[in-house]
Amino acid sequence: MIDIRDAFFDEIYEIASKDKNIVLITNDMDIYSLRQFKEKYPDRFINIGVAEQNMVNVAAGLASCGKKVIIYGISSFLVYRCFEQIKFNICSMNLPVIFAGVGSGLAFSFDGPTHHGTHDIDVLASLPEMEILNPGETFSAKFCAKLAVESEKPTFVRLDKGPFPELSSEKNIIDNCFSILKPVKKVNIISTGSMTSRAMKVSEVLENKGNEVGVVDLFRIKTISNQLINMIIKKSETIFVIEENSESSGIGSIISNLITKNGLSVRLKILGLENKQLLEYGEREWLLNKAKLDADSIATKIMEENFI
């Protein structure tokens, strides 16, 4: 397993070897694959220092002159500290800048709510021009790198950190938006980001008890393909959204809106984090266990709701 950031940036590195317009800007962040970019393309790598607002503004200026700029930083600092810069100089100018924000969910578990990426989805979703990608396994991380570079819109990629498995492949991906990792059943899990590998574990726990669920990894969380409605939501009796985001402002809300907007009849349960700034510090797994987002607790919940 490789670090999901390396999966993403290795792909960016490959693309950059052919596309001389790719420029990488960071606020003093590091990762192995960035080092090779920096060494190979020093003229296209800018460490702007701890000055995020200016980083976004400079990126906007570069992008307006045809540069394809990728900004790499801790997600929460990009979203919150630079919100107006993003809204004003990137989105209202509709510049195809890519934000690679690391630290979705509780990836920075010991660093507190300044670093947590648990409430950023609806903040980003409030920007009409912004696309949001959220890969949770290494294939979609690479795939999202391509999608982001090809996009003509501003794109925010919610990146995790650390080793993640490869779960998907080209043939599982539907409409550049989601992967069907386990075939659709009456009860289906839609997950995103870090929770996708957990959703697979949940499905195994359930299978061992004789209950089958479908698993869908939603990696383009805005704009969502109609195929998610046609192929997944309309085919489901119950959908469990599993996410490492606030239960009131993650993909559950986005899917809930989709259901109501389209007048669909399906039972939706959102299993996410309580809506609070988490001032507790510990291992990510410990925090997730406390939130009953470990695979066993999720499986039990699904069992109780559906199969008993």
Binding site: N54, V58, G61, N89
Partner: protein, 273 residues
């Protein structure tokens, strides 16, 4: 274009700005008049290579009027240069027409405006792209003096200085009045040149209503090996006696009596110019 011609253009634009602001009941005359000579120098003084034939191209200079509330002067200039139509100009202040801030749907406008403190970072990126792409254009911005309190301006100053982005040219409209206060020579203005130079810039200071000084500074700025900041000492409301140096004229609109006085003053200057 010689100095007296530039003065004459400036007064004509002031009169047109006045008429439009009063007709539509909208405008920030004080801060528009304080930077108007700077705009005239940029657009008519052979500084910006922007005209009706090239404004959509990639090779020309870029300009952001960071204090976008002075947009009415720019609209009048863009119409005079043949970049926007008379009809477009006259749509100012109408539903669906030109707004009180700039946006890129208006031909000749390089950037949306409305929030302060952004443009210097953006022009730094633009200027950097110019160098990366082996182009020779410069990126200019006019900032308000009150805007210099924005932290992001200083992030941009540090950045452009550190990276020696010599084709960035900032001009501060130092009219000494914010919306509600007199901006004395305190804070950064106590020691402006030393502060800016210590961050890797060339600091120049001019009378922002003296075309010779403005153009000389801009000429130097174009050839500097570092980014250049020009502190332009200006007068808010410049050109209309009762508007000068008055907090009232940040966004007040003249009464019919005041309009008449302003009209006479500006028309006299144009006639005598």
């Amino acid at each position: 274009m010689n100095t007296s011609e530039l003065i004459n253009i400036s007064n004509k634009i002031k009169l047109e700005v006045l008429e439009l602001a009063v007709l539509k009941g909208k405008g920030h005359l004080g801060g528009t008049y304080s930077c108007l000579d700077l705009l005239v120098a940029l657009y008519y003084g052979d500084v910006l290579n922007i005209n009706a034939n090239n404004f959509e191209g990639n090779e020309r200079d870029r300009f952001i009027l960071s204090k976008g509330h002075a947009c009415l002067a720019l609209y009048v200039i863009l119409e005079d240069l043949g970049i926007i139509t008379k009809d477009a100009l006259n749509s100012y202040g109408e539903n669906g027409g030109l707004g009180a801030q700039l946006d890129i749907s208006v031909p000749g406008v390089d950037w949306n405006t409305g929030s302060l403190g952004h443009a210097l970072g953006v022009v730094s990126g633009i200027a950097m792209a110019s160098k990366m792409n082996n182009k020779s254009f410069h990126a200019y911005t006019i900032l308000g003096d009150a805007e210099m309190a924005e932290g992001s301006v200083w992030e941009a100053i540090a950045f452009a200085g550190d990276h020696c982005i010599s084709n960035v040219i900032g001009i501060i409209d130092r009219n000494r009045l914010s919306v509600t206060e007199v901006l004395e020579d305190d804070g950064i203005f106590r020691n402006y040149a030393a502060i800016v130079e210590s961050l890797g810039w060339v600091a120049l200071e001019v009378n922002g209503h003296d075309f010779e000084e403005i153009l000389e500074a801009l000429d130097k700025a174009k050839n500097n090996k570092k980014p250049t900041m020009i502190l332009a000492n200006t007068v808010k409301g410049k050109g209309v006696s009762f508007m000068e140096n008055s907090l009232k004229w940040h966004h007040s609109i003249p009464s019919s009596k005041e309009l008449e006085i302003a009209r006479i003053e500006l028309s006299e200057k144009i006639k005598n110019g």
